[in-house]
């Protein structure tokens, strides 16, 4: 029953070809999934502030930082961000700090020519702003659940059905990423030599993921219909505020005031 070649041992010496694209793809997928799975509510007041408030105020702060021309405002805002960071879970804090250093460094490198040409004030200001923006948005995404951030978008006149689609998107990112990881591992385990057609492999994995997406969406449609879904989806707003919500609002009103003073 078994053919001859299986009865012998091969003497195979592979060529030293790198297949880093598989590892890198796996790495970014795994990172994505772990970020999503880590997104839950932990101990600490900052995690429990009303998400609607957090989203609205963070975006307002974002806008003000983008507009301001004052180093002092951004500086004081940074102090505010630092104190928010201190209120967070240690692991989150470390992760945010790591993430927040990479991009500003790249920005700095990119702005060196401009600085050398004499555009110092503005370039440093951009650098400051980039740092603050990244930390601000990272704090938001680490202390608020995605489904809550999503629901806050309802305020921007985004239809409920789109908000629901965005919720599903995150869920599917997890499912499809894990499926992709399986496919990528399978590819890696069978990449025992060299090949000229690497693009074909990646294309077929991506194609496979697409087909799987399609099938999954059909199954989900059936599931929804079985539970009585006929195209309408309504989202209820969470408008209960606690004591620390008021404190949060007051602090931020102070920041807005500071911006206004420095702007005029």
């Amino acid at each position: 029953m078994i053919d001859e070649w299986l009865l012998e041992k091969d003497s195979y010496i592979p060529k030293g070809e790198k297949n880093s694209y598989i590892e890198k793809s796996i790495f970014s997928m795994v990172k994505t999934v772990s970020i999503i799975r880590e997104n839950k509510i932990k101990e600490g007041i900052i995690y429990h502030i009303n998400p609607l408030l957090k989203v609205v105020i963070s975006i307002l702060n974002l806008i003000f930082i983008a507009i301001t021309r004052s180093f002092i405002y951004v500086g004081i805002f940074d102090i505010y961000l630092l104190s928010a960071l201190l209120m967070m879970d240690k692991r989150d804090r470390i992760r945010i700090i790591k993430m927040s250093l990479i991009f500003p460094i790249i920005t700095f490198i990119a702005l060196i020519p401009a600085i050398l040409m004499g555009n110092i004030y503005n370039s440093l200001l951009i650098l400051q702003k980039v740092l603050s923006t990244i930390v601000l948005m990272s704090i938001l995404s680490h202390t608020t659940r995605w489904s809550d951030i999503n629901k806050a978008l309802k305020l921007m006149f985004i239809p409920d059905i789109i908000i629901w689609i965005m919720d599903i998107t995150i869920k599917y990112i997890v499912l499809l990423a894990e499926y992709s990881i399986d496919l990528l591992f399978a590819l890696k385990l069978r990449s025992v030599g060299s090949s000229k057609d690497k693009n074909k492999f990646i294309s077929s994995i991506v194609g496979n993921v697409f087909l799987k997406s399609y099938k999954m969406s059909e199954e989900m449609s059936s599931a929804m219909e079985c539970r009585g879904f006929v195209g309408e989806y309504s989202i209820s707003k969470n408008l209960t505020f606690k004591k620390y919500d008021y404190i949060y609002v007051i602090i931020n009103l102070g920041m807005f005031l500071l911006f206004a003073i420095k702007f005029v």
Partner: protein, 241 residues
Amino acid sequence: MIRLEDVSFKYKNKVALNKIDINIEEGESIAIIGPNGSGKSTLLKLLNGIIFASQGKYFFDETEISEETIKDNKFSKSFHKKIGFVFQNSDTQLFCSTVFEEIAFGPIQMGLSNEDIEKRVSSCLRMLNIEKVKDEHPYNLSGGEKKRVAIASVLALNPEVLVLDEPMNGIDPKGKKFLKELLIMLNKSGKTIICATHDFEYVEGIFKRGIVFSENHNIIRDDRYENIIKDKQFLEEHNII
């Protein structure tokens, strides 16, 4: 209550169901048995109005279920309330952002008051032993927890018929025992249970009747469950064990 008359289903020239006749009364508990590809899942989908017969008729509570009748939103909603479907793959069955919302989805659609919704969801959480994950995202749960959330979310509709597609797949022994007890109790309280299953180990006591599909997509035996299980020769002959 459920009646299939000479039902066939074809998809892209492949026959999935071949001239099926079934009669199911309220309160029965039936196992759908057969080798892979014999049409079990297709039958369940048809019972739930996701696909429609290419030939023959399907009657639920004396009303025909067809593509036209399902188009009526009101009818479709009341139909889907009466018959609940637990999919084989829990991942695609759950589509809300938290377990609580998932279970509340059905009752909200039905228009219950907030109080009633709270009561119903808490009760489902308790019965399925998933209270501690009620604020979790469904994709962060284990296989067994996901399955229980799926069952809870279907149960929340308080359906009269519960249809399950291979519910024991991927569940550990403790989970299987739990599901078995649950299904027995649900059947005792009057719900009709229809279940496609491969697993004969953990399902003792659940089913009273069995319907066997052959590789040719038709029904070859419709008998009491014990009789079928004891007939090893029959089961081997038709690739079921």
